[in-house]
């Protein structure tokens, strides 16, 4: 059995599975239940001036008959007094000394406010601090959360204020509601952040009720934007984690957050540079027990891969993530359909016909059986057919050997510029 423990910016944790600062970490009762279930750490629901929450608060996006593809909330930070939270943090830490408890903090962007809360929280004993610069709703209107997280200089300044007094590692939680997340990440590091966590939720409106014409959710007939999370946001989160992981100016450990629901998601986030991960929506959907399957799956995966420690995954795929302009334009894959696995739903044909390059033919073979065949000379290797194919092993994307030597757009441009004297680096997306 592989070693699942991690050291996250100096914070020891029995495993990489932390609960994100969110409704599941609202109370000592919940966090203790979570630790009993197997979670290695918890980021306590954000502490600050207690708020009044609305009813209703949550909504979800269901897709194709599956519930909670995405999740939306307009809940704010803790609605309980700081003393109550601190008492429960203390009790929880005493009961679970080896588990990780991080205090999420959010106060007005004032130096003395940050100093005050950091001192009070560290006094009762936490393993680290997470600065919530990400909450996209409610707190932003008060100049907190995403409002400060969207201003790199404010992130840097507030991080620096915290670092002036903090004795435990400081994690800055980033908002995705920004053009380039690495800018804010770099400023957090400049302010002294020991680590970053991302992503917070994405601005969202879960839906509109097509019968009542109300927003979803609605509070007495009125709605407001909320924060989006859950499986649907994973690709967005993963790309932002990857961008930070490969940015040399960031260079601090990353706690990956965003739609993580399975052990496979955990592996992906760690391969893409996360040292640990945080989960919320999966617990909202299934309860704390979901961690059992995540731990078990991760264990078997690590054993199968012959890895002694989960930390061996960290960042292994980051070097494989670069800019479009550096991709080999001469690399060529083509689709190949395996007749024995094909179930003749013809989805590849119509997808290629209507949305790609019209190179999958519906034919009849010598025995009179309907078959699908790729005209490889016209196939651009887009992957669409293999994406829509519902049958296991029916379509392979095959790399063609013996093409031209590798040549990226940037290499090509450099060569052309050698001829005509002009050149610009492409990061075409």
């Amino acid at each position: 059995m592989a070693d699942l423990s991690i050291d996250f910016a100096g914070i020891k944790s029995p495993n990489p599975f932390w609960l994100a600062s969110a409704p599941p970490t609202n109370t000592g009762y919940q966090v203790q239940r979570a630790f009993e279930a197997g979670w290695g750490g918890a980021v306590w629901k954000t502490l600050g001036e207690p708020v009044i929450n609305t009813s209703a608060r949550f909504a979800a996006v269901h897709f194709g008959g599956q519930r909670v593809a995405g999740f939306n909330n307009i809940e704010l930070i803790t609605d309980r007094p700081l003393e109550v939270n601190l008492k429960e943090i203390y009790e929880t830490k005493r009961r679970f000394p080896d588990h990780t408890i991080i205090a999420s903090l959010m106060v007005e962007p004032k130096r003395e406010k940050w100093h005050e809360i950091v001192k009070r929280v560290e006094a009762i004993g936490v393993d680290g601090l997470e600065l919530n610069f990400g909450c996209p709703h409610g707190m932003a209107e008060r100049g907190m959360g995403a409002a400060s997280g969207q201003q790199p200089d404010l992130v840097q300044a507030q991080t620096a204020w915290v670092k002036e007094v903090a004795t435990t590692p400081v994690i800055v939680k980033l908002t995705p509601n920004i053009t380039d997340i690495t800018v804010v990440a770099r400023h957090a590091v400049k302010g002294g952040a020991d680590a970053i966590s991302l992503i917070n939720t994405i601005n969202s409106l879960a839906g509109v009720d097509i019968h009542s014409w109300n927003t979803i959710p609605n509070v007495g007939g009125q709605g407001a934007h909320g924060g989006y999370c859950g499986p649907a946001v994973k690709p967005i989160a993963l790309s932002m984690v990857a961008e930070c992981a490969r940015d040399r100016e960031v260079g601090v450990p990353i706690s990956g957050i965003g739609g993580i629901s399975t052990w496979q998601d955990v592996v992906e986030f760690m391969l893409m540079g996360s040292t640990g991960i945080q989960v919320c929506t999966a617990v909202m959907h299934h309860g704390f027990r979901i961690v059992e399957e995540m731990i078990d799956g991760l264990n078997h995966y690590l054993d199968e891969k012959g890895l002694a420690s989960v930390t061996e995954l960290i960042g292994k795929s980051v070097p494989r993530y670069s800019n479009w302009g550096d991709l080999d334009l001469n690399y060529q894959v083509v689709a190949r359909i395996n007749e024995e696995n094909c179930i003749n739903c013809n989805k590849c044909h119509i997808a290629c016909e209507d949305a790609s390059h019209q190179c999958i033919d519906m034919l009849t073979n010598a025995e009179g059986k309907a078959i699908l065949q790729v005209r490889e000379e016209d196939c651009v290797g887009c992957n669409l057919c293999s994406i829509v194919c519902p049958a296991d092993g029916a379509i392979d994307m095959i790399a063609l050997e013996g093409g031209a030597a590798p040549m990226s757009w940037n290499q090509r441009s450099r060569i052309i510029s050698g001829v005509n004297g002009s050149y610009s680096e492409a990061e075409v997306g």
């Binding site: 008959g65 599956q66 179930i343 003749n344 739903c345 013809n346 119509i350």
Partner: protein, 463 residues
């Protein structure tokens, strides 16, 4: 279902319970889950396997996206008896059998989804289609079963004035009268009839062509005639004892259970059903649910040759029906009061030589006669042909099967088209409601083409 109840009389409560639809419909959640499983194939094999070419992936996608009206319209547009077919189609041999998920996971429950959508339409009370603008042409349809209703509906949508002549007091044909209520409740079929009537089609019930209206009158009064009179009751076995009290016609037996509590008494009786087609199975399960103590099916061939669908056979076995293969009835034995007392049978064996229909011929085993003590005999050996009507219309036929041009349904009389069981030949499998519906549509399109001068009848194109 109560079979060996201590009751000795067949109460209305027992009837209601035993003849209520046996298979539950899908719940909303079940329908959403199942519809979302559909791959939405392109050029889908299920459509090709449906004789009426219902755009199945389309109606299923409409269910998945909470558009039940659209789903019902897609179904009923292609198949005017789509609600009945949702229940009686041999789906595992048609759409579901063609589903690409066979062998991969499990085929989509197309029949149940079709029922879910059409049940919604029935409850909604909506009229799904509109009559076309009148073109001044008149068509008479003989027979208000699936083929006749389908022809009438498509003609009405194209602006024809249509009158259906129906011999029975209610239209719908076998869907209304001949399929057991626990598989197809009568109100489903009557809703389909009503949908056709709401297009302005007049249904004159209790009208036998040749008796209540003359052929001449019909031919003079209409521009075209669609003959969709189906088939008749069960022909005689040709053995001794058929007139005894306690000998029943399978179709009549089922029919008596469709319009209320039947007067015939099978409670506690030992019943022998002769035949092994779907009607024989219906008669057998019907007998069980009427309280028969024991029901045996008597068939001169084996399981391998029986024409009933597998799901019918399985259903019958679950109902407790026993099967006596390779058994030929020789004589029905009566008691002194003229009631059935026993069925004399002889054992058969397959000769190994194929008969005219390609199936191995059964031959009697000498000296193997035996007496089966029974209280009732139900005969289900096929249906009589409408020979008198066909002859009266002067149509070419082969032993009562009207000859038609398969593409148009046109008979030897250019004014008359034919569809449904009346053109259904022997040895071509089981007559299906869904095929009758398509033949009715085809006849209608041929008439549309004939009278509108159009090259293609386009009604009923996929939505």
């Amino acid at each position: 279902m109560e079979q060996s109840s201590p009751l000795t009389t067949f109460t209305p409560e027992l009837f209601m319970r035993n003849f209520a639809e046996a298979e539950p419909g899908l719940t909303r959640k079940g329908a959403i889950e199942e519809s979302n499983r559909c791959l939405y194939c392109y050029d889908a094999p299920c459509i090709q396997a449906c004789p009426t070419s219902i755009n199945i992936p389309s109606f299923i996608k409409r269910i998945a996206t909470d558009n039940l009206r659209g789903a019902a319209q897609t179904i009923m547009d292609a198949n005017p008896v789509g609600a009945s077919c949702a229940r009686v189609c041999p789906t595992e041999e048609l759409c579901e059998g063609a589903c690409v998920l066979n062998g991969t996971s499990a085929p989509i429950e197309i029949g149940l989804l079709q029922r879910y959508a059409t049940d919604w339409a029935i409850r909604s009370g909506l009229q799904l289609f509109q009559a076309g603008e009148s073109n001044g042409k008149k068509v008479a349809v003989i027979g208000g079963g699936p083929a006749g209703l389908s022809a009438a509906r498509e003609l009405a949508r194209e602006g024809f004035q249509v009158v259906i002549y129906e011999a029975k007091p209610l239209a719908g044909g076998l869907d209304t009268h001949g399929i057991v209520s626990f598989r197809l409740p009568q109100d489903i079929s009557l809703w389909e009839v009503e949908q056709v009537e709401r297009l302005g089609v007049e249904i004159r019930t209790g009208m036998k062509v040749g008796l209540d209206i003359s052929i001449e009158e019909l031919k003079a009064g209409y521009d075209a005639i669609v003959l969709a009179a189906g088939m008749g009751y069960v022909p005689p076995l040709g053995i001794e004892g058929e007139k005894l009290s306690g000998v029943y016609d399978a179709i009549e037996l089922v029919e008596t259970t469709k319009t209320g509590i039947p007067t015939l008494e099978l409670m506690g009786q030992r019943v022998a059903v002769i035949g092994a087609g779907n009607t024989a199975i219906d008669a057998a399960t019907c007998s069980v649910r009427l309280g028969a103590a024991n029901v045996k099916m008597i068939y001169r061939r084996t399981r391998g040759e029986m024409t009933a669908y597998d799901f019918e056979y399985e259903f019958a076995k679950q109902e407790g029906v026993e099967f006596n293969w390779l058994t030929l009835p020789k004589r029905i034995v009566g008691d002194e009061l003229g009631n059935v007392a026993a069925l004399e049978c002889v054992r058969m064996e397959l000769s190994g030589e194929a008969g005219p229909d390609g199936r191995p011929s059964p031959v009697p085993v000498a000296g193997s006669e035996f007496l089966l003590p029974v209280d009732a005999v139900v005969v289900a050996i096929g249906q009589k042909r409408r020979m008198d009507l066909i002859e009266a219309l002067g149509l070419k036929h082969k032993r009562g099967v009207v000859e038609i041009d398969p593409a148009t349904g046109r008979t030897s009389d250019p004014q008359i088209y034919a569809a449904g069981d009346i053109v259904f030949g022997a040895g071509t499998g089981e007559a299906m409601v869904v095929s009758a519906a398509q033949q009715g549509k085809d006849a209608a399109y041929a008439i549309v083409k004939q009278w509108s001068g159009r090259q293609d009848g386009i009604v009923g194109s996929a939505v």
